[in-house]
Symmetry: C2
């Protein structure tokens, strides 16, 4: 599949009909996943706060993992070294295991194994397949939210001019993207960073309000190379955050390029912002004449590390 | 206090004799804190995995917070807007509340209120005061570890030549520090980033192995402006991580400036690495002729946002 088609394919994943079966009495969830497969857990943790959701992006699981843990291991390939290691540990601790993968060793390790129906796309293009079973399983997404999200993604698929303009601005002066989110979109700011890394092959970094007011603020006011950064800042409806954004921009004499989420509730807004970053990073990659799908180095590393 | 004296004062905080009283039967901890007061929770979460430790750096608390939650609110001033808001919400949910502060509104909100005995230093210079009550309360630190940590901090206080060299390398070409940690020092890599922001007033960013192998890797191999970054990478004893560091450095044709932790167990190693970053960022600030203690903009923001 062409990478542009992969991007357009996200909206179809909203219709994915699998969901995590949550065992009765469960109250604590641990989600393991790396990189493009880890982002689903990060997004879910921000949206669902009724359970204690703990994330793992390493080989080992915390000591508290036990029989009463619902452990969800996510790996697109099903063969991610860190995730297999963590899932094996959790299984030994007696955790109830759910896996989400397109195959591989992981696809047989769970009490429930959710199968992603295709493996011919990039892991980071399969976010819908990995996120929907979580959102549906825990009752976090409604039919109308799925429909609204579909419409918003479709809009972006048909018109991404705004995204292209940001990519051009960044490309023209070889700027470093800095992405500032705020709750409940901190994970999406991080997703943009990783998409800039993988699709455009540029260094980028993300942080979020209000935390960044306690550290980044001093830096962006007085740093050297100030003109070499491009600030992409997510708009917020929360009055406190809105004020922080305005005051920070003025006080640090920065220029914030605002991206305002569309959507009537947090799920559609999340999907819209997620997809917006897909396009900005994709276009930057194209302008830089790098291949957005090339992650050969990550694959090479995986082999060499084994 | 001169800022250099504040840095030297960290080791004395190891002797702080207060500790969190953990209620019998507690198994879940939520820690709220921002910036320089939030770092204690981040460090603690990495070192103590017997309980579910959930962190908050925002106004709101997760819905799962209840009577069975041990809620620890940390704010050096005791007046941090976000932390007061989160603590008030947690109190309404009936959580058992412990506060750590030098005074302010927070210092009267807890079932237990731990008082930091001085308020004449920067919040980020009081990490010992905020971290020790957690480590002692949950039995994570031994007397011999305190003694070893004291010795290591004292060594750095007497000889920080290596730290100065990194600061000079960074300053000479106005480079952007990129700090790469790995478990259990991911929080320390983030601490370095925030210290670069506040002490040296430069933009910096952190990430950690193995997660960075799934995104940053592609970027640092092919990014523009490659020569404008300065990679500070924490050494690790874990064989998998060690291998990842070596392979990544070669495959991306980067130059990693390695910092190897000293200490015989993870607590002294953590304190050594924490303090190492204090000095690199402090010296960079001095070389840049900025005032390391100046956080006037953060203070100004706090007032304007109210």
């Amino acid at each position: 599949m062409e990478f542009m088609d992969e991007l357009r394919f996200l909206k179809e994943q909203l219709k994915f009909n699998e969901k995590v079966d949550v065992p009765p009495g469960a109250s604590e969830v641990v989600i393991a996943g790396m990189g493009g497969s880890g982002i689903a857990g990060k997004i879910f943790q921000e949206l669902f706060t009724e359970f204690k959701v703990h994330l793992i992006d390493n080989y080992a699981v915390p000591k508290f993992v036990s029989k009463s843990t619902l452990f969800i291991a996510i790996s697109f390939s099903g063969n991610t070294e860190e995730t297999i290691s963590a899932a094996s540990q959790a299984a030994r601790a007696g955790a109830h295991m759910v896996t989400i993968s397109s195959g591989g060793a992981l696809s047989e390790m769970g009490d429930q194994n959710i199968k992603i129906p295709r493996n011919d796309i990039q892991p980071r293009s399969a976010t819908g397949y990995m996120l929907i079973p979580l959102l549906k399983g825990f009752g976090v997404i409604s039919k109308s939210e799925i429909n609204e999200s579909y419409g918003l993604l479709d809009q972006l698929d048909k018109n991404d001019e705004e995204c292209k303009i940001h990519a051009k601005n960044i490309s023209k002066k070889s700027l470093i993207p800095v992405i500032y989110g705020s709750p409940p979109l901190c994970s999406i700011a991080y997703r943009w960073k990783t998409q800039f890394n993988e699709n455009a092959k540029v260094i980028a970094y993300s942080n979020s309000f209000p935390e960044l007011n306690h550290n980044d603020t001093m830096a962006i006011a007085q740093t050297y190379r100030k003109d070499e950064f491009y600030f992409l800042v997510f708009g917020s409806d929360a009055s406190k955050i809105k004020k922080r954004i305005n005051v920070t921009e003025k006080a640090t004499k920065s220029r914030f390029n605002m991206i305002n989420p569309k959507g009537s509730s947090q799920i559609p807004r999340m999907f819209y912002m997620l997809h917006y970053g897909d396009y900005v990073s994709y276009h930057l990659g194209t302008l830089r004449k790098v291949n957005p799908t090339d992650i050969s180095l990550i694959e090479k590393l995986k082999k060499e590390i084994k």
